[in-house]
Symmetry: C2
Subunit: 212 residues, 2 copies
């Protein structure tokens, strides 16, 4: 009973994600779904990316959070259209929430839409939103065993940002374990090692975003 219900929810979500995808394609908008644990650096990544790319690309943002408009406010300060979705405790964004948020965005003015999911390495992996790419952000202090322990999102993502590499000297992060596990889970995953704080390695990320 419970399994059947979950299947129905995922099926309904997939259908609505396809509807979103059609809307995005018609409007000529590319969409990136940012997924990570709490505190891996999604919002700071987004701030820096907007500062770097907003002169050459028209950007828009959907911000997902349990509650508070903290992240939405940070992004709005950069002059980019942003809609904040508060899930009221819900642990992931779904296609329906995104569909409703679209009515609040000036789609005709947007070329690239970032969706910052709720901070959660588990549930958001299972809910398509209509995106062109899932980007998973993981960070050095979280440890090198994250791909092995949370494989679903690493399997489904096209890009992995390994953030906070400035903290490598102060942690026991094992690069070899990290890359060997990723190779088993998703050999075609592209990894960019970055420090959102210092800017190290961000050039490769910006280049990828421009070409999506």
């Amino acid at each position: 009973m419970q399994v059947k219900l979950l299947t129905n929810i995922l099926k309904a979500n997939k259908d609505l994600a396809d509807t979103n995808r059609t809307i995005f394609h018609k409007a000529g908008i590319k969409v990136i779904n940012l997924i990570s644990s709490p505190g891996a650096g999604k919002t700071t990544l987004l701030e820096n990316t907007i500062e770097n790319l907003s002169s050459c690309l028209s950007l828009g943002v959907i911000e997902g959070d349990l509650q508070t408009t903290k992240d939405g406010e940070r992004i709005a300060q950069l002059g980019v259209p942003v809609v904040q979705i508060n899930t009221q405790g819900g642990c992931h964004l779904d296609a329906n929430m995104v569909n409703q948020a679209l009515t609040e965005l000036p789609l005709e003015d947007i070329q690239l839409l970032f969706i910052e999911n709720v901070g959660n390495l588990v549930c958001p992996a299972s809910f398509a939103l209509g995106e062109d790419a899932k980007v998973v952000i993981t960070s050095v202090p979280e440890g090198s065993d994250k791909p092995a322990k949370y494989p679903i999102i690493f399997e489904k993502a096209q890009i992995c940002l390994l953030n906070k590499i400035d903290l490598l000297p102060y942690t026991n992060f094992n690069r070899r374990e990290f890359y060997e596990d990723l190779q088993k889970i998703n050999p075609s995953l592209t990894v960019f090692e970055v420090s959102v704080l210092t800017g190290e390695g961000m050039g490769a990320w910006y280049s990828w975003v421009k070409k999506i």
Copy 2:
């Protein structure tokens, strides 16, 4: 419809958590439910706590993970009875999973049972397992805005461990914001600042565990 179903699930979970609680009380076992984001340091905390306390307390562990037995193996090496629950992608432990795991543990030999939940700051907060205390672990590199952004678990926890304080000099963690937000969310929450890696501050945690 969906809301009603969720209510039913939570009600059924609560009933089963009460059953677990009765089993624990009869067996004279205290139970601590460890909840955090992926990579905040739950398993290392547990390893060090076992090494420090196993001479004066009989311990047992239930390990929750999406898949893999990595954490369970780490704990088993310390000679403590451990059961690994693999949720097969599920984002939290529930009272039923714990109830089933109890049949695999020598309850008569255990005084204190640690339950390491799935790494997720959202969903585990809503599912009681029959524990005496929820302990939330958050870590300096995750940032000082975590209580404001994920308030439910900070509201429900009795203890908060702020881990990885050895990384304070290398991050922009704002202690004032952290404590001010906690004060609003849960004024009776006790915080221990620790570094599981260096051992700093762990004495206060061990003292609390001994007295639970």
